[in-house]
C-alpha cells in the first residue's frame, strides 16, 4: 500500500503538469469548448444547414451552469469517497481476523 501511495503522488504530479502546460504555452487562447468550434465548422462546410430541433431547456447563465457543475462534482466525489471509506473499514475487519 505504501508503494502505491508513492506511485500515486508521482502520477498526480504528472497530471498537474499535463494540465498546466497548455495554459502556459497557449497563454493567449480562449479555452472555449471544442464542440463550439465544431459548430463553427459545420456552418463553414454547410452554411445552409439549420438545426432542426431545439433544446427544451438551457441553463439561464454561466453561473447557473457552473452551479450545477459544482454540485455534480461534489456528489460524484462524495460517492467515491464514501465507497472508498467503506472499503478501508472493511479491510480493517478482514485483516484483523
Amino acid at each position: 500500500m505504501k508503494s502505491l501511495f508513492k506511485q500515486n503522488v508521482i502520477l498526480f504530479l504528472l497530471i498537474i503538469t499535463i494540465v498546466v502546460i497548455p495554459l502556459i504555452i497557449k497563454r493567449d487562447s480562449e479555452f472555449g469548448g471544442a464542440d463550439g468550434e465544431a459548430e463553427g465548422l459545420i456552418q463553414e462546410i454547410n452554411p445552409d444547414y439549420e438545426p432542426w430541433f431545439e433544446s427544451f431547456w438551457e441553463p439561464p447563465s454561466g453561473e447557473i451552469e457552473s452551479l450545477l457543475f459544482s454540485i455534480q462534482v461534489a456528489i460524484g466525489a462524495g460517492l467515491i469517497g464514501y465507497i472508498l471509506g467503506v472499503l478501508k473499514e472493511r479491510r480493517n475487519i478482514v485483516t484483523d481476523r
Binding site: 465548422l41 441553463p59 467515491i80 465507497i83
Partner: protein, 242 residues
C-alpha cells in the same frame, strides 16, 4: 438502508450530471434525421444487452451495486472536468474506461447513455435527437475499445498498469474519433467530400483530446490499482472481467 441511500445518491448524480460534459457531444438538432435514426438503431442492441447484464449483476453479486456506484461516480466526476488542451480549447475525459474494464463494455453503455440523456435534458449539452449518435461514440465504441485493449494486453501481464492506461486513454480517444466520423458523414465537404471534412473535425476533436486521454489513462490507473489492492486482500468480491 445503506444500499438505499447509495442508490439515491447515484440517481441524484445521474440527474445532476448534465453539465459541461458538452465538449464532445454533437449538439441538439445538428445531425440530419436519417443519421440520428441510424445511430440510435445501432446503439439499441448494446443498451439492451447492458440493461440485462446490470439487472443480473444486481441480483446475483454482493458487491456489484457498490462497485457500480464507484465506476458511475468516477464517470460523472471525470466527464465534468473540463480541462485545457494544447490546442487552446477545452474538452473533458469520458470516465467510462474504468467501468468497461471492471464490468465489461455494455454495462457502461447503460451508464453512459443515462449520463448523456440527462445532460441533453437539463443542460442543453448534446441533445435528444443526437442521443443515439453520442451514445454510440461514448457509451459503445469507447468502452468496447477500452475493454478490448485490456483483454488483449492485460490478461497475461503481471503489472496491469500499462494495459489499463492504454485501455482508458485509447478508449477516450476513440470516442472523439467516432464523433468526428459521425459529423463528417453527415457533413461532407463540398470540395473534398467526407475525407476532407473528417480531417477538419478530427483537428478539432481528436487533437484537443490527446492530452486529456493521457490524463484519463493516468487517473484510471490510480483508481484501478487501488481496487486491485482491495481485491487481492479479499475486501471486494467481484466476479467480472478482471
Amino acid at each position: 438502508m445503506k444500499k438505499k441511500s447509495l442508490m439515491w445518491s447515484v440517481l441524484l448524480i445521474l440527474v445532476i450530471t448534465p453539465q459541461i460534459a458538452q465538449a464532445m457531444h454533437i449538439m441538439e438538432g445538428f445531425l440530419p434525421l436519417k443519421w440520428a435514426i441510424a445511430w440510435s438503431v445501432l446503439t439499441l442492441p448494446f443498451l439492451a444487452v447492458g440493461l440485462k447484464k446490470v439487472a443480473k449483476g444486481l441480483r446475483e453479486e454482493k458487491d456489484y451495486k457498490m462497485m457500480l456506484g464507484l465506476v458511475g461516480g468516477f464517470a460523472f466526476v471525470l466527464s465534468a472536468l473540463k480541462i485545457p488542451s494544447v490546442t487552446g480549447s477545452c474538452s473533458h475525459p469520458t470516465g467510462v474506461g474504468l467501468g468497461a474494464i471492471l464490468f465489461g463494455p455494455t454495462t457502461m453503455t447503460v451508464i453512459g447513455t443515462i449520463v448523456l440523456l440527462f445532460q441533453a435534458l437539463l443542460l442543453a449539452h448534446g441533445g435528444i435527437t443526437t442521443l443515439g449518435a453520442n451514445s454510440f461514440s461514448m457509451a459503445v465504441v469507447g468502452p468496447f475499445v477500452s475493454y478490448g485493449i485490456y483483454k488483449v494486453l492485460g490478461r497475461k501481464s503481471k503489472n496491469k498498469s500499462l494495459a489499463v492506461f492504454l485501455a482508458a486513454s485509447l478508449g477516450d480517444l476513440a470516442t472523439y474519433i467516432i464523433t468526428s466520423i459521425q459529423l463528417s458523414l453527415a457533413f461532407p465537404d463540398a470540395m473534398g467530400g467526407i475525407a476532407a471534412s473528417l480531417t477538419k473535425f478530427l483537428s478539432v476533436f481528436a487533437v484537443t483530446q490527446i492530452p486529456l486521454a493521457i490524463v484519463e489513462g493516468i487517473i484510471t490507473v490510480m483508481v484501478f490499482n487501488l481496487i486491485q489492492e482491495y481485491r487481492k486482500e479479499g475486501v471486494i468480491k467481484l466476479e467480472e472481467s478482471i
